[in-house]
Symmetry: C2
Subunit: 134 residues, 2 copies
């Protein structure tokens, strides 16, 4: 039996303006890319996730379906979704950096529009990094 509710691996905010299914989709992508979700691992059930985050089950299912279409997840009839077997177990750092790049570019643009210095931005990120140390 799972002692830690796996449904809490994810952060879903219905009020963030970003579609819920896409929040989930991107987080799964990252956890798989980093190997925190390895091939064969079962994902939280649609109903559990939906319940834990007060969201409609079909919204979760939509994310799962898209991830299956991407080849990241594998559907198993009557059984939980699993992480699909992959060529590489873990994406090399270069690929993972590529994945986060657009988000980083957007942040830099915001910082410049706010006329923050590079050091102010770096300090902010350090502070947040510490605050969320696991």
């Amino acid at each position: 039996m799972p002692t830690i509710p796996a449904a809490l691996m994810f952060t879903l905010d219905p009020h963030s303006g970003i579609p819920i299914y896409r929040q989930l989709q991107e987080q799964v992508r990252r956890l798989v890319a980093s190997g925190q979700l390895r091939a064969g691992v079962e994902l939280p059930s649609v109903r559990d996730l939906a319940l834990a985050h007060a969201v409609n089950p079909m919204t979760i299912s939509k994310a799962y379906s898209l991830l299956e279409a991407e080849g990241l997840l594998q559907r198993n009839r009557g059984r939980p979704m699993t992480v699909a077997p992959r060529r590489r177990a873990v994406d090399p750092a270069e690929r993972r950096l590529k994945q986060i790049e657009p988000q980083a570019e957007a942040l830099v643009q915001s910082a410049r529009q706010l006329e923050l210095s590079r050091r102010e931005l770096a300090a902010l990120l350090d502070r947040i990094w510490e605050k969320e140390h696991e």
Copy 2:
């Protein structure tokens, strides 16, 4: 006559998944907060912006209306929108940092889910910062 098309102050991407009107809204907020758009300055016309970014004029108008409701912009019948008079000309760094915080938190979360190190993230941001040096 304006030599530099002011419409290009903004970056609008219809395919980013973020509503266009909100992209514009947030960018204006930041430029005002930093004083790059000072009180009294006229904003690009709805039609110019719409044309320059291949977007519907009403989408721009929606952003302007929301910004006017926020008190950041001022409508002048028959005349271009202007930046509203403000108590402070420029937000102090603290307020500007507050404004970018959620975006920074999201980036840190992504980096952690990708199991990037703090230094890898910092290096990426430095690289992007240099690349977009004005």
